[in-house]
């Protein structure tokens, strides 16, 4: 929702008695994230660009911005740093190395320098391999980066509120609403 709509809604919901902290909490959700300034903690800049490239292939820009605009690569770096355990982190980083060496050996250039067509072909093959991987020891790299991308994208401001429908403070609960009235899936 835009700022004006949010303000209107606050007034409507709370009858004007809303505390400042509630109002700022609701409104802060309407501001754009601070641009730039992210420093990678686990990924190198090159790896970060590789993650951004793959994530944009998974959730590309269409009539709404894609994963790169939602800065999924920064989210992935944070998750690798603070959430992943060591084994998963190593596995993920090895996967990044592998996708580059596959790109090199097939197409003679790193993945980010491949054409989009070449990149899609490699990812498709990786997905097929991931889906047929029955070892169960370790989540395949493709599944990892797809999960990170979906999570990072759909919980970002762009993914949650531009691509999908984000309802912050509904003010009511209705249990039976025609879908066309909402028009999009909730984030």
């Amino acid at each position: 929702m835009d700022r004006r709509e949010a303000l209107k809604r606050v007034g409507f919901l709370m009858g004007g008695t809303v505390s400042l902290s509630v109002a700022s909490g609701i409104l802060s959700g309407c501001q754009a994230p601070a641009a730039g300034g992210y420093t990678y903690q686990t990924l190198s800049a090159t790896q970060g660009e590789l993650v951004a490239t793959i994530s944009e292939l998974i959730i590309p820009e269409t009539d709404t911005p894609g994963a790169r605009a939602a800065r999924v690569h920064e989210f992935a770096d944070l998750m690798l740093t603070e959430w992943f355990d060591v084994a998963d982190r190593d596995h993920f980083l090895a996967g990044l190395g592998e996708i580059d060496s596959v790109a090199q050996s097939i197409n003679g250039a790193t993945f980010v320098d491949n054409t989009e067509e070449q990149q899609v072909a490699i990812l498709t093959e990786m997905e097929d391999a991931a889906l047929s991987d029955a070892s169960g020891d370790q989540t395949p790299f493709f599944s990892m980066i797809k999960q990170l991308t979906l999570l990072g994208y759909y919980t970002s401001e762009i993914g949650a509120s531009q691509e999908l429908k984000y309802v912050h403070t509904a003010g009511e609960y209705r249990g039976d609403v025609p879908y066309e009235e909402i028009g999009r899936a909730y984030s």
Binding site: G15, V22, L131, E180, S187
Partner: protein
């Protein structure tokens, strides 16, 4: 900390009453005592929390939370190894959970002890479901011979349910069921279209069962100083509009308004002081967790509301010549008969149809299926005694289903723009029998950083619970099948000797200082008053003689208000001074 480095300062001015713990029970004790004119000291072991201003994650969007709400793994593993076993432990609420490293306990068998450590306690973290008990619950021990008889019946507590429900604000639907008495309800929140469908199917196929909206301490109509719910969703972050009942939103403001309350955070009560010459409790001994000072506070009456195991730990650590095994423990039952609700068992299904239906708003509760087993002779089970209820909800799948879908790119993005199929699930909360062999005791070899001996906890489910669990899964699946849903599957998260559905995870720990008629077999009498020490009351989950299957907090509220009324009347009569 070594004891010799501290000095014991004596507070010369005494209070009328001391309340230990500021959670749901302690908040009620403080409100009732102060409103009856008693100068009351409320001691809280944790930090202060101001209503509204200290709800630091409230109303943040997912993208405003670090890692969208995931916790830092290294920090969680180092400091919250137990707390992170509950799904409630998330970054948005991490600041409510106790630091496990600083507050150790020993698990003889898996026992997950989830604790708050702040003013308001778990009243800021609870699930907010409120269900009255009935005489089916109060008479159960007597009828089937497990545990000891409750010293009260429904008629004793019913007016106190009325009293606390009106103030706390409970929304829900009246059903006229003998096993789940109606109360003072605000209008219930709506069921969604699929939940309504399941309700109709259950009524049609199982006449003895009903599905209703959860009865919760969340307002659908404003109360003084508190607004109706605005359906933002994550209650555990705190609610600055006071729409759900917490000590902060409800009982503490009332206590403060009397001018009779002194609230002291950072006060870890280690002992109740017992005077053998006068045969009564004279106050409590605390450690100030900020200064490490040991302090004593005096009062005419002491209310322990430090949570079931917290209150029992204090009593076990209050030793004297007369009570060498813990204060008020002449029965030897102190620490025993530990109970919790066993859950994490039930069924899920996918629901076809309703593709053109959706919902609006983040409803902070789900549906409830009240107990339908062992209510009367028609519902009697051969394989187990007591019963269980279900909590559940239906919703449409969201973008998360994309992880299980093949493909990527614009097509996947377009597909995830639409909501997925409807999914419905329910999990059971079952009654746990009181057993002497489920117990806690002090372990002098392990202490916290303030020198308090840690609890050693030894509790496990028994044959009755396991037999009940099989029925809990099957009956859930049976209802979903009968409703015509697809891909019905049962689950049971229990693992033998491991985690998943271990005792404690229900966060409804009860017992260890039970009420009873006989001082030889129980710790507390029918007024939550220690048989052995008349000016000592315990009104939190420790007092429970059986566990029921209903979420217990509303019963603690009612028992606490009732106990305060008794204590003050005894003081007026001169029986407590």
């Amino acid at each position: 900390m070594t004891r010799k480095n501290v000095h014991i300062s004596q507070e010369t001015e005494g209070y009328d009453a001391i309340v230990v713990g500021s959670g749901i029970s302690g908040g009620w004790a403080a409100k009732e005592l102060t409103e009856k004119g008693l100068k009351t000291l409320l001691l809280e072991r944790g930090r202060p929390v101001e209503h509204s201003t200290d709800y630091i994650t409230e109303h943040k969007a997912p993208w405003e939370l670090n890692m969208r709400g995931r916790y830092n793994r290294a920090n969680a593993e180092a400091n919250y190894a137990v707390q992170k076993r509950t799904g409630q432990f998330r970054a948005e609420a991490e600041h409510w959970f106790i630091n496990d490293k600083e507050n150790p306990y020993i698990e003889d068998k898996p026992f997950t002890w989830i604790r708050g450590n702040h003013v308001g306690g778990r009243s800021l973290m609870w699930g907010r479901h409120c269900y009255r008990w009935s005489d089916i619950d109060f008479e159960a021990n007597l009828k089937d011979g497990n545990g000891v008889d409750w010293p009260i019946r429904y008629a004793d507590i019913a007016p106190w349910y009325d009293y606390v429900e009106k103030f706390a604000g409970i929304s829900g639907e009246k059903l006229g069921l003998p096993q789940l008495p109606d109360g003072q309800f605000q209008p219930g929140m709506p069921l969604n279209v699929v939940e309504k469908h399941l309700r109709e199917q259950i009524i049609k196929n199982f006449p003895e069962r009903i599905l209703t909206i959860g009865r919760v301490a969340i307002l659908t109509e404003a109360l003084p100083g508190r607004a109706a719910c605005h359906y933002c969703g994550p209650c555990i972050r705190g609610c600055s509009t006071g729409s759900y009942f917490s000590s902060q939103s409800s009982t503490l403001p009332a206590a403060v308004a009397t001018g009779n309350l002194t609230l002291r955070p950072y006060s870890i009560v280690q002992q109740v002081i017992y005077d053998e010459t006068r045969d009564k409790a004279t106050g409590v001994r605390i450690v100030d967790s900020e200064t490490n000072e040991v302090l004593e506070f005096k009062a005419k009456v002491v209310f322990l509301c430090a949570s079931a195991l917290g209150s029992t730990q204090i009593l076990l650590n209050s030793k004297s010549n007369r009570f060498a095994d813990g204060l008020a423990n002449s029965s030897g039952e102190l620490g025993h008969n530990l109970m919790d609700h066993h859950f994490k068992v039930g069924a899920n299904a996918m629901v076809d149809g309703f593709d053109d239906r959706y919902y609006y708003g983040n409803r902070p509760t789900g549906f409830y299926v009240p107990r339908f087993r062992n209510i009367n002779s028609e519902t009697r089970r051969q394989d187990y005694v007591r019963g269980y209820g279900y909590q559940g909800s239906a919703r449409r799948e969201n973008w998360g289903r994309g992880n299980d879908m093949r493909g990527f790119g614009a097509e996947l993005k377009q597909q995830l723009r639409e909501p997925g199929d409807w999914r419905i699930g329910m999990t059971a909360f079952g009654e746990c029998l009181p057993r002497h062999g489920n117990y806690v005791r002090l372990d002098d070899a392990v202490t916290d950083k303030w020198g308090m001996p840690a609890l050693r906890i030894n509790a496990a489910w028994g044959a009755n619970e396991f037999a009940m669990r099989r029925d809990m899964a099957q009956s859930a699946a049976e209802m979903l099948d009968a409703a015509g849903y697809r891909d019905v599957s049962t689950y049971d998260s229990y693992t033998e000797g491991g985690l998943g559905a271990e005792v404690g995870l229900g966060i409804h720990e009860m017992g260890t200082a039970r009420m009873g008629r006989d001082p030889k077999t129980s710790v507390l009498n029918e007024w939550n008053q220690a048989h052995d020490v008349p000016n000592l009351y315990v009104t939190d989950g420790a007092c429970m003689t059986s566990s029921g299957c209903q979420n217990p907090s509303i019963t603690y509220m009612a028992l606490t208000a009732r106990a305060v009324d008794h204590a003050v009347s005894e003081m007026k009569k001169g029986n407590i001074s």
